[in-house]
Amino acid sequence: MFAVRNALRLGSRLFIPAVTRRGCAGAAIPIDDVVNGLTEEQIQLRQTVRKFFVEKLAPHADEIDKKNEFPGMRDFWIEMGTMGLLGVTAPVECGGTGLGYLDHIIVMEELSRVSAAVGLSYGAHSNLCVNQLVRHANEKQKEKYMTKLLTGEHVGALAMSEPNAGSDVVSMKLRAKKEGDYYVLNGNKFWITNGPDADVLIVYAKTDPEAYQKGITAFIVEKGTPGFSTAQKLDKLGMRGSSTCELIFEDCKIPAENILGPLNKGVYVMMSGLDLERLVLASGPIGIMQAVLDAAIPYLHVREAFGQKIGHFQLMQGKMADMYTRLSACRQYLYSVARACDRGHFSAKDCAGVILYCAENATQVALDGIQCLGEFSHVDYS
């Protein structure tokens, strides 16, 4: 049994920190999806995407983080497109997979577990861009833009934040002035995930600055449109590998037919989109917490000090319990809110609550994980 199993394991190129590989504790920490209330199909979904991400992405995750670059991104996007992962919530008629928000969360969770940075780019593409198009694009726009976004030939993004408008996003200054059949855009956007790579972007601009929040309109912008350019890719502390940059609009003419949703009603498109964005992106921290457990728990069973495995010491056991229970509680909150959304019940308060709770807990779990791994948490694993 052991010979064949070892051959298969070595051949699998599983990404495991060298420390745990030595201890031969390569298995990831199992997830109890019965407790999580997942259906059989969702359990199968998790297993399928986990296998796909471990085999296709995990070998590159380390380098992506180090270099803040994902050279294989476009190929990986196409592979995800073939798997049907880029349009989880898009209807089958558009070429999507026709599943729900909880299914989308499961996919993003497992992706973030392998590489949180790629997970973020995936979330920006599949939820911020694709899902907004699903919800607001008219037939002509869907026909024009959806297919390539779903096959992975095109990368999607969404731009609302500006250098001086983050929390107060409604005070954005990007101006869209009507000129005949076009709107001329002038200004910038900042902190835009997938900015450097995106072929299709949803951009929010002020069509009526006097009307404050009632003067915002959403536009679909294509890469290569004259007057639209991207500036420096940001060198971030975390989520390295998810390219983020500034967008520059200089007399950029966008046809009026590219308005997404109603004119001057963009704030509703934006705010309702934000609820779902928070919901789905909360799976990022969940994946991160799971990854911390995957790394830390086996290590505690292997590392010895004072004559025993450090996992026997109460402080380490306390940390294991804290990490596990935080993750479990976050999961239940997220999955419950997702199920409600899938039933058509959207609670803005809970969507915001979920990402607040998951993100804060992920930071805490990561800190606990660092304590468990000791000095090994500080070094380069490759």
Binding site: R5, R9, T48, F52, T97
Partner: protein, 237 residues
Amino acid sequence: MSGRVLVGVKRVIDYAVKIRVKPDNTGVVTDGVKHSMNPFCEIAVEEAVKLKEKKLIKEVVAVSCGPQQSQETIRTALAMGADRGIHVDVSGKDYENLGPLQVSKILAALAKQEDAQLILLGKQAIDDDCNQTGQMTAALLDWPQGTFASEVSLEGDKINLVREIDGGLEHIKINTPAVITADLRLNTPRYATLPNIMKAKKKKIVTVKPADLGVDVTSRLEVLKVEEPPQRQAGRV
């Protein structure tokens, strides 16, 4: 040759899991442990689906013997492209004692019942490493066997096969109906895409009992003890 292919898929402990022996030494811990389709069975499913895509066979039927959870393994085969599934329900003590001899009797009975032209299996399961089921099934049916296959091609009503053997590669030609067991290099199994997983939900899985097939699953073997291999000692230079 066109017709029906039976593919055997076994639910085993996932290859990446660290195996632990039960404290009472009666077996290994399976509760709460991640299970998946035996890797060689995945390769067998892939080969069957490829034959169907080349229109050389008409239907792929996935078979698994085991408890209720074996249906998950059949679902994976359906998501990879199998057309329907047969779950032979064996659970409890019978399942713990289920081995190649009983499974091959079940497969032989199903092959006759389903009028199968070809049986595709993995060369062995990664939990017991028996490497017997394919061979026994062929013997029970009195069919030719092509084991450790690394290349399979159909030529009329015959099959050209390349086998991986100790001395190298052996090229043989066998008649159909036949039993083929898949080795590692036969192909690279595809991922089940989400749309295919959705489609697989509509495919049928039928449950039968071994008794329905006239098979007695009582084991002639008794497991006395299961223990870890001895710890590796340091070498000497």
